[in-house]
Amino acid sequence: MTVKIDENELLEAKEKSVKVGAELKKVRGFALGFIIPVVLLVVWEAAVRFNLLDAYVFPAPTTILQKIIELAKEGTLWGHVGITFFRVLIGFLAGTVAAVVLGSVVGYFKWFEQLMDPLIQAFRSIPSLAWVPLFILWMGIGEASKVMLIAVGVFFPIYLNIVSGIQGVDRKLIEVGKIYHFTPLQTVRRIIFPASLPSFLVGLRSGVGLGWMFVVAAELMGASQGLGYLLVLGQNTYSPELIIASIILFAIIGKTTDYLLKSLEARALKWQDNLQNQL
């Protein structure tokens, strides 16, 4: 902190180094995230190679990679990944819209909360597998039922976070809106929604995770393609490399979608006065 050199020079130098430093930091942060997965993979491979793990229950990463490459070469991989991604996407959108609408109303109107919330909360703990027969019954075995089931999974965490976000909005800010005679809709759009954005975004991230989880149950409903289908197929045909390959694909794609949402979060919340948004 003790600096004795010409100040202008210093400022310039500092600016440059700040920029380069930021780039470097980003790359390093990124690299840091790879350390543990890589270590795990190496340990795992070694364990299989030295017969500490039985290959028939836990094939080596290289075997699994081969399996994935094989699928890719056959051309079926993209089909599986694509259709699952598509289902999750549509289900996610549907679930989000439903959660935003219901969540806003429940969060805003006390009586509506008393009316609807108990039922919604009760539904929340019904496992994905339990929905399967009901959805087949209601909507058949087409895409609609699959997408809807995913939407159900996505719905709950988003709903929960929205309601709590809205109910946690500072009264002080809402009052500002009241002074301007905002309609409830304006209040929601201009104050409540942005104020509960952090909570909403966590809900989205939670929701997309659940979307990926529900996809397996969804693809139990007569799917002939998809990652969930691969997983179940692997279980039904006792093929561990297929099971683990699909798990790894789930992890990778799930992580990617989460990364997208997380970037969105960082961008949308740059106004937050927290330790990380300091200049």
Binding site: K172, L173, E175, Y180, D273
Partner: protein
């Protein structure tokens, strides 16, 4: 235009808030409210603005036209996710029609339009809140210690700005303040609240024409008078 009859709003089983307050205010009048900390001044403004409906008594607000009430809260209450400019526009009915830059200049924030509230100093945040209230061009303006975080000169400039606006738009204003000089410089009438829950202890009219001279000896005598009232009140308490 504003008539308050026997209004009370208390908290804590009648231990805080204000009680039995009656007064009436003409259109275009500027009223100052002085009083010890915690005697219910902010609560009174909240009741007048309609934010707090749980009061007793009777309040009549006549002929308000389409212009709503404007309010400057005791805290800046800026939306943290909006920049200064957007925060100011928050108060405008039609964001496209108004010139934000003008208001930014008025409160001396010309260069800070694109800052987020977290990067503002206390006084700058307060000035943003002032600009937000002014841009709506309200018919009645309620101000809760609007200049408390400002230095002497910025304060004087903004006081003059208020006078100008009051004159051109003949806005009715109720100003809560702790600065007696400020009340004397701006107001046609001054109410003094005291006690817990607060009641109206005294009322005085200042009939000197505006703009007034800050060094005016008549005002200085009034100041002594007010200090007296406040002091007695404090002693009694």
């Amino acid at each position: 235009m504003l008539k308050v009859k026997q209004a009370s709003r208390t908290f804590n089983d009648g231990l805080a808030g204000f009680k039995n307050i009656s007064f009436s205010i003409q259109e275009g009048e500027t009223v100052g409210i002085l009083g010890t900390s915690g005697c219910g001044k902010s609560t009174l403004l909240r009741v007048l603005s309609g934010l707090d409906q749980d009061f007793e008594g009777d309040i009549e607000l006549a002929g308000l036209g389409e212009q709503p009430i404007g309010m400057i809260f005791q805290e800046p209450r800026l939306m943290p996710w909006l920049t200064v400019k957007e925060n100011i526009l928050f108060g405008a009915k039609d964001a496209k029609k108004v010139d934000v830059q003008e208001y930014l200049n008025l409160v001396g924030l010309s260069d800070f339009g694109d800052h987020y509230p977290k990067d503002l100093s206390g006084g700058m945040a307060q000035r943003t809140a002032i600009a937000r209230a002014l841009i709506g061009q309200p018919g009645v303006l309620l101000l809760d210690e609007p200049f408390s975080a400002l230095d002497a000169f910025t304060k004087m400039q903004l006081q003059d700005l208020l006078l100008k606006i009051q004159k051109s738009r003949s806005t009715t204003m109720i100003i809560v303040t702790h600065d007696i000089d400020e009340a004397l410089y701006l107001c046609d009438r001054i109410f003094i609240l005291g006690g817990q829950p607060g009641t109206l202890q005294a009322q005085m009219s200042i009939e000197t024409a505006k703009p007034r001279d800050r060094g005016d000896s008549f005002l200085a005598s009034k100041k002594a008078e007010i200090l007296d009232v406040l002091h007695i009140d404090k002693e009694v308490e």
